[in-house]
């Protein structure tokens, strides 16, 4: 009702301009919707070959070469190379969680890979920022061998230490210097401990 009155108060030229503007904005939003990348898991990248997708994962390695860089991303199930046109800025660290938007394709070895601009790779979470114990244990396969920071409660357990969240999730931790029992943030590398048949954090530093 109000819109109809406003429209009737406008002159014809103004109505045409407003209609053009609204149609243009709607059209651009539609184009943006069509062009928006589809989120795919690393293991599904091969099925999305040729389309524009977004993947997320943890940085396992970064190789810089003359014409760009290759970032190896891992998640719980798969490792995929992301080929970039330039080294990522700011520099990435192993273990950083990143998202990359680009074209799904295959690398020189025939394995599924993503081709992306360095500007389209964004760090979501630095390796340095502590995660919950539940998050680390849920993603342990993806994080194995990577720098990880964890936040929880340190407790003695069977002659060693565990970090737990008080809600059932716990992670074995190997400390060079024993901490005080209680709330803790610990930085280290996540390894698979064959003796315990479980993942454990080799702690470098804690607070």
């Amino acid at each position: 009702m109000i819109l109809a009155r406003v429209a009737s108060a406008m002159k014809l030229h103004d109505r045409v301009l407003v209609a053009l503007a609204l149609a243009g904005i709607a059209g651009l939003q539609a184009i943006a919707g069509l062009a928006a990348p589809r989120d795919v898991a690393l293991e599904d990248l091969a099925a999305a070959e040729g389309s524009r997708v977004r993947v997320t994962g943890h940085v396992a390695s970064l190789r810089v070469h003359a014409r760009g860089a290759v970032v190896a991303l891992v998640d719980d199930a798969r490792r995929v190379d992301v080929w970039l046109d330039a080294p990522p800025e700011p520099a990435l660290s192993r273990g950083d969680r990143v998202a990359a938007v680009g074209l799904a394709g295959r690398g020189p070895d025939g394995a599924p890979a993503l081709s992306a601009r360095a500007a389209d790779l964004a760090r979501l979470e630095p390796a340095e920022s502590p995660r919950s114990v539940a998050d680390v244990t849920a993603r342990a396969r993806a994080l194995e061998g990577l720098p990880v920071a964890v936040r929880g409660e340190a407790t003695r357990h069977l002659g060693g230490w565990v970090v737990h969240d008080g809600a059932g999730a716990s992670l074995a931790a190997a400390f060079v210097r024993a901490p005080e029992p209680g709330p803790i943030e610990a930085w280290g590398t996540l390894r698979y401990d064959a003796k315990r048949a479980a993942y454990a954090l080799e702690v470098d530093r804690w607070r």
């Binding site: 406003v6 053009l20 243009g24 904005i25 651009l28 943006a32």
Partner: protein, 472 residues
């Protein structure tokens, strides 16, 4: 060649190419920067500053390439149609040089104020709120009033009906009859307090809500521009020709601020009269210049603001002292020149690039502490000064040629050619979606001209997406 001489040579080259980029319709200094990504900082800083000066000349004769130059359009075009386009450019660039030098002199103060991390954090936290406050201020001070009350105007030539009655109240030209009919009598038709068979036509008059309703056109422009900016910037720009550095900012700003003036010039039909070459123009007064240069510090402090916003603030600050078009041009120039200097200051002292050209330059060492200033700051300020002096000279030189061309060229040829170049550049750098952005931006950009509200409202195309990112 020593490092200093090399930096000077880079600055001179940047100043020439920057000025050229502003004088070519459809091109912008940001486009030049995209081609010169990774170029040395003196080149890009001088190009940025020099382009700002040349844009003032281009805005008068060829249509504004960006919002800063668009701010000068109204008074400058009035002079252009009196054959004084060259004088308008001289007044603008003289004001710009004065504003630039004044702001440059205050830069150490700016760097000192933002030495500490706390000041930077405070600025970041306050930025969205400050932007909202400024948007509200620009809306509230637009001075637009809407007539909404139904009334009848005395119209002997084209009466729609005839009205009779007794006048019970008068407010200026508006008489109220006993039956509540409002009658606009700006012809002095009514004699005494009785109206008999007065010939009238329907009209509307102001009422108590006129001021509040007057905010609607400006608000509508802001919302349309904001929605357009959000939609356009969500699109990636890919050049069909594989050109580097395409960004939707090019068609967006060209559509909102450049193309509307060209479209209107196309419809105007009349050629610009023979242009007089002004060898001397009296120097402007210091007060309004200072208001322009100081208001422009907003451009350095806050993202997405432009010289146009600084002009609006300067006019508000210098209220009553900007009584004529000549002073308005000097203030506009000072705000544009000040905005360039403050942008360089923000880049050096805050590490924030307020322009695509500065964003393309290698990140400088942050200017902190104040003394001794790092070499990056000294080199950049020298390059900015070179850019300003050369830009000033080149804009004045170009204005002579443009003035001759404006008077000789068929009336539609210049705007039509400039529009064609804008469209070509938009397509070349951003493809078909860029053309949609250009066309939509032009439709939105024409609305402030038609509704008589500030064109700076259309800068919401950048401000609203920034607020969206900050808060949503």
């Amino acid at each position: 060649m020593s490092d200093d001489a090399a930096a000077l040579a880079e600055a001179v080259a940047g100043a020439f190419l920057g000025a050229l980029s502003s004088l070519a319709p459809g091109f912008h200094v940001n486009t030049l920067a995209a081609f010169a990504t990774g170029a040395p900082a003196p080149f890009l800083v001088a190009a940025f500053v020099s382009a700002g000066f040349a844009a003032l000349a281009a805005g008068v004769f060829l249509g504004a390439p960006d919002e800063g130059a668009a701010a000068a359009n109204l008074p400058a075009h009035a002079l252009l149609h009196e054959g004084r386009g060259h004088e308008a450019v001289r007044r603008l660039v003289s004001g710009a040089l004065a504003g630039f030098l004044l702001a440059l002199a205050l830069l150490p103060l700016f760097a000192w104020a933002f030495q500490g991390r706390d000041a930077l954090r405070l600025l970041s936290a306050a930025t969205p709120w400050a932007l909202v406050a400024l948007l509200a201020l620009f809306l509230a001070t637009d001075g637009k009033r809407l007539a909404y009350r139904r009334a009848w105007r005395i119209a002997p030539a084209a009466p729609e009906r005839r009205v009779s009655g007794r006048v019970v109240a008068r407010d200026g030209a508006v008489a109220t009859l006993a039956d509540g009919t409002r009658l606009v009598d700006d012809l002095g038709w009514i004699e005494g307090d009785v109206v008999r068979d007065a010939p009238v036509a329907a009209t509307r008059v102001h009422g108590p809500l006129s001021r509040a309703l007057g905010l609607a056109p400006g608000l509508a422009v802001m919302l349309l521009a904001g929605a357009l900016g959000q939609a356009a910037l969500a699109l990636g720009a890919e050049s069909p020709l594989g050109l580097p550095g395409g960004t939707m900012l090019l068609p967006l700003l060209a559509g909102l601020f450049g193309a509307p003036a060209l479209v209107l010039a196309l419809g105007h039909g009349a050629a610009a009269p023979t242009q007089l070459v002004a060898d001397r123009v009296p120097p402007p007064r210091a007060g309004p210049l200072a208001a322009g240069a100081l208001s422009a510090s907003l451009v350095g402090l806050l993202p997405t603001l432009s010289a146009g916003h600084a002009v609006a603030v300067a006019f508000a600050a210098a209220r009553g002292r900007v009584a004529d078009r000549e002073t308005a041009l000097a203030v506009t120039g000072a705000a544009a020149g000040g905005a360039m200097a403050w942008s360089v200051a923000a880049w050096l002292a805050l590490g924030r690039a307020r322009s695509g050209a500065l964003a393309a330059a290698p990140t400088p060492e942050r200017w902190s502490p104040l003394w001794p200033a790092p070499p990056d700051a000294t080199t950049a300020l020298t390059a900015a000064l070179v850019g300003a002096l050369l830009g000033f000279a080149l804009a004045r030189f170009a204005a002579r040629g443009l003035a001759r061309m404006a008077a000789r060229t068929p009336p539609a040829a210049l705007p039509a050619g400039a529009l064609a170049l804008l469209a070509l550049a938009s397509w070349a750098f951003t493809g078909a979606p860029g053309l949609v952005v250009l066309a939509t931006g032009t439709a939105v950009g024409l609305l402030p001209w038609r509704w008589g509200v500030r064109r700076t409202h259309a800068m919401a195309a950048l401000t609203l997406p920034v607020l969206e990112r900050a808060w949503l």
